[in-house]
Symmetry: C2
Subunit: 164 residues, 2 copies
């Protein structure tokens, strides 16, 4: 195989990998969205916000929450507004900074998230039931590599040309 | 490890796999969206519609196009309307069915898609540059398994209880 040809083959193989990654992710995401909607009248972005807050018992600044969810779409402010209305989240002022607000789950928010998270895990266990744990772990490591490669390339591309 | 414990470990491993799959997919998708926007003033769903049409020189019925893109979000009718306005797509009546319309790329649509697709492939080749072709192929096969497992489970779950 000539050099040019090898480069073309590599490029096509990476494109195929991306299309398969996107297909698997969209397929599962569509199913999860539908289950959240039909069984709990809720949405995946709303679940993502609650999941992020559930990992921070002391709460998160809105700016940090938005940063953490920046690639999950959905309007974080609007989602938090509705979670507050539903009594699942509270906004509390930050002691030393009058302009900043911290959001955190209420006791009821933690309870609700616990129920949703258990169902979510069970749905995924069903969807991926044919994937053995060792296989899942190996594929997970390969996907970590994909994310790390992509993130490194994105960071590099954002630098001014002289620093590359 | 007791049976219950093994089941729990397997479930957590599958959840971790899903979260890693979603992370890799969202990370790359966010980058591609941003490049389509900043470099071509276009969107990923619009590219997806053109990609689907580029594979069918004779065109596709709107219903088949919608079905093919059902998990890619985006309002297919609205996207097609704008592609028609831009002269990249035409709607033509189906000979034997007065109510049905077929949409297909115009010559300019094919040309534009060709340029976008080449850039898209180059972006992905950059993002995944550190993944060797053999590794990409292996990971692709594992992702095919994930999609097949998920699709089979989804089909099974949609059947009435008596048929499962």
């Amino acid at each position: 195989m000539s050099g040019d040809r090898a480069v073309q083959v590599a490029s096509k193989e990476r494109l195929r990998l991306w299309l398969k990654l996107l297909k698997a992710s969209r397929l599962m995401e569509a199913d999860l969205r539908e289950r959240f909607r039909s069984q709990f009248d809720t949405t995946l972005p709303r679940f993502d916000v609650m999941a992020a807050l559930s990992r921070k018992p002391d709460g998160l600044r809105m700016s940090d929450l938005s940063a953490e969810l920046k690639v999950s779409n959905g309007n974080v402010t609007g989602i938090v507004d509705r979670l507050v209305e539903d009594g699942l989240v509270v906004r509390v002022p930050v002691d030393h900074d009058r302009r900043a607000m911290i959001v955190r789950l209420t006791a009821r928010g933690h309870e609700t998230f616990g129920l949703l998270a258990a169902e979510h895990e069970a749905w995924i266990d069903g969807l991926l039931g044919g994937i053995a744990p060792a296989e899942a772990a190996e594929l997970g490591r390969a996907l970590d590599r994909v994310s790390a490669e992509a993130a490194a390339h994105m960071q590099q591309a954002r630098k001014p040309e002289g620093e590359r």
